[in-house]
């Protein structure tokens, strides 16, 4: 409080206090068209901008919540917690980065797995939380994915994974690289048993996650305009020293180049995946 505000009558001060008590996050700005959107409207629309159809990034838990039927639901692998086995420290300690991410997201690590159903089709669904250290894949993410696969094997259920990740978690060094091999190996078991795995690629899916589990689906579905690739666009630009083509590494670009099966609007994902799964498992239409 400075000398000027001290001079002001208290009446004005209370008004100021009232103004700051307006709840935060009531409004959201669309990253693409800058339209100011009412948060509740946006949530009802699966976080897709009603003005320009831009797919905003969505929290993993909310994504699964809107994707799955309300019941039954059983979370898998939530008892697994990350540890800093290497005592890794850059400008910050990994331990502190973990704590910070846990506090800001309310999640213990970057992958959430839930056994549930979509339009009555039972399945196991996993989703990466991008806000948790860029959705990076470390030991817990890898192990939760394995638990998801094991649950599918045990109950003969299809697997869906929404990926959204910058890649491997550098703070876990070679252990994180090995999660690529680990998750890919687990998928060989689903393959052997003829259990479908649908990979849903969302913005962004890069690096070690893209170069392992995300590109090993029987069916690859991408959300519109998601950034999907191995190397990041800036790294490529620095290497080849030319500007990248328009739409490079976006979903539609991948569709054109044969890397994915389809681009699907988030609001249609429930219907489309349920439809595909019933056919792959030779069940009657949902």
């Amino acid at each position: 409080m400075n000398w000027f505000t001290k001079l002001l009558p208290t009446k004005i001060n209370t008004e100021g206090a009232k103004r700051t008590s307006v709840p935060e996050g009531l409004w959201t700005k669309c990253d693409a068209c800058s339209a100011v959107l009412y948060r509740a409207d946006l949530e009802r629309n699966f976080d897709v901008c009603p003005k320009c159809n831009h797919h905003l990034r969505i929290d993993a838990r909310r994504r699964l919540d809107s994707f799955l039927d309300p019941a039954p639901r059983l979370e898998i692998g939530d008892t697994l917690k990350p540890v800093d086995a290497l005592k890794f420290k850059d400008i910050k300690k990994y331990k502190d980065r973990l704590q910070q991410a846990q506090k800001s997201t309310g999640e213990s690590d970057a992958l959430i797995v839930i056994k549930g159903q979509v339009k009555g089709v039972p399945l196991v669904a996993a989703a990466f939380e991008f806000k948790f250290m860029g959705g990076s894949m470390g030991s817990v993410v890898g192990e939760r994915f394995i638990r998801a696969v094991n649950s599918c094997l045990e109950h003969n259920l299809p697997l869906i994974c929404f990926s959204s990740s910058g890649g491997a978690r550098m703070q876990e060094a070679l252990f994180s690289l090995m999660q690529m091999a680990k998750t890919a190996a687990a998928l060989t078991r689903l393959h052997k048993r003829g259990i479908p795995f649908i990979s849903i690629l969302t913005d962004p899916t890069m690096g070690g996650v893209s170069a392992s589990l995300a590109m090993l689906g029987d069916v690859h579905i991408a959300e519109p305009n998601a950034l999907i690739g191995f190397a990041g666009p800036r790294v490529i630009e620095q290497t080849v020293r030319e500007t990248l083509p328009e739409g490079f590494q976006r979903s539609e670009f991948l569709l054109d180049h044969g890397a994915i099966d389809m681009v699907v609007d988030r609001r249609d994902l429930r219907d489309r995946t349920a439809k595909i799964l019933t056919m792959l498992t030779r069940r009657p239409a949902a």
């Binding site: 850059d90 192990e143 491997a168 550098m170 252990f175 091999a181 890919a184 589990l213 191995f230």
Partner: protein, 319 residues
């Protein structure tokens, strides 16, 4: 500065040049200075020993990338016989950053796949500095399936800065090519031994590195990202590469401690490039021993063990 030596080796380089000078003098004069030369050589050896017994991770990373370090084809020539290179992915191109082919190890037919860097500028460019594109990984995949068909053990050799980050590589599905190899190697029905001979750079290395046994040369490295890449992301400055190298623990010794590497192949004093015959012999012995060991297992046992090995990677707690 002697370019045959790395910066941290310069004291050794100075001694070596002194020895050279003395030799020159010794040839000219009748004075016998062989004693002096022998003394200096002993000193040089001790100095090398003391420098190399205390290497930092960043210095080992330099050795792993040493321009004179033996590359994959150097080992192919010396460790194996009857090598026949097999080219191409049968779909798009022949990527020269990955070499594959049939050969014999001590008489036994095997399939070899390895990253290949170039020695001179022209070859470096042709080999794309050992950075494969998707067609390289797909060539490897074709050969892996061939090995399975003809029941040939697979020996892979890792030496790459990473998969190539280029426009064409992305267009042709770099991610998918790497992912597919991880998947197929996890269930390939023949023994697989991978040896890191230089740089093990990230997914580009792992894409030919899913195996039953992982060997690493003493001064090779294996990491999820290059020290420079890690430093520029986490420290926001590529100058911190030495710190990043240390933090990631990318050396053979550290990775062995962590249980990620099965065998370390000792290198001759001063590194593999100082004595190619010695390193050839060590690599060959390690490969023969490991293959003998793996070939005892029934295939199903071997695959089960490979799966358990992969599943064991990672650290977490469970409450």
């Amino acid at each position: 500065m002697n370019l045959n030596f790395l910066e941290f080796e310069q004291p050794i380089a100075e001694l070596e040049s002194k020895i050279e000078e003395l030799r020159y003098v010794g040839n000219d004069n009748e004075i016998n200075i062989s004693e002096e030369i022998a003394r200096l050589q002993g000193k040089s050896r001790d100095l090398t020993k003391s420098i190399f017994s205390n290497l930092k991770a960043a210095q080992i990373a330099q050795l792993a990338r040493h321009p004179q370090r033996p590359y994959f084809l150097d080992y192919v020539q010396r460790v194996f016989t009857d090598f026949e290179e097999l080219h191409g992915d049968r779909a798009y191109a022949d990527d020269k950053a990955i070499v594959g082919g049939l050969a014999r190890l001590d008489g036994r037919p095997v399939l070899l796949i390895g990253h290949q860097k170039g020695r001179d500028t022209k070859e470096k460019v042709a080999r794309n500095f050992g950075m494969p594109r998707p067609e390289g990984y797909r060539k490897a995949l074709r050969l892996l399936h061939m090995a399975e068909k003809f029941k040939l053990p697979v020996l892979t050799f890792i030496d790459t800065p990473g998969a190539y980050p280029g426009v064409g590589a992305e267009e042709r599905g770099q991610s998918e090519a790497i992912a597919r190899n991880l998947f197929e190697m996890a269930k390939l029905r023949v023994p697989i031994i991978s040896t890191v001979i230089g740089e093990g750079g990230s997914g580009g290395a792992l894409a030919i590195g899913v195996c039953d046994r992982l060997l690493m040369l003493e001064y090779s490295t294996y990491s999820v990202i290059s020290p420079e890449g890690c430093a520029s992301i986490l420290w926001r400055s590529a100058d911190k590469a030495a710190e990043a190298a240390e933090a990631m623990g990318l050396t053979a010794a550290r990775l062995k401690e962590l249980g990620l590497v099965d065998t370390i192949v000792d290198e001759p004093l001063g590194g593999a490039h100082r004595d190619i015959d010695a390193i050839t012999e060590s690599v060959k012995a390690a490969l023969v021993e490991t293959l003998d060991y793996l070939e005892v297992f029934a295939l199903d046992k071997l695959l089960e063990a490979r799966y358990s090995r992969l599943m064991s990677f990672g650290h977490y707690t469970e409450s």
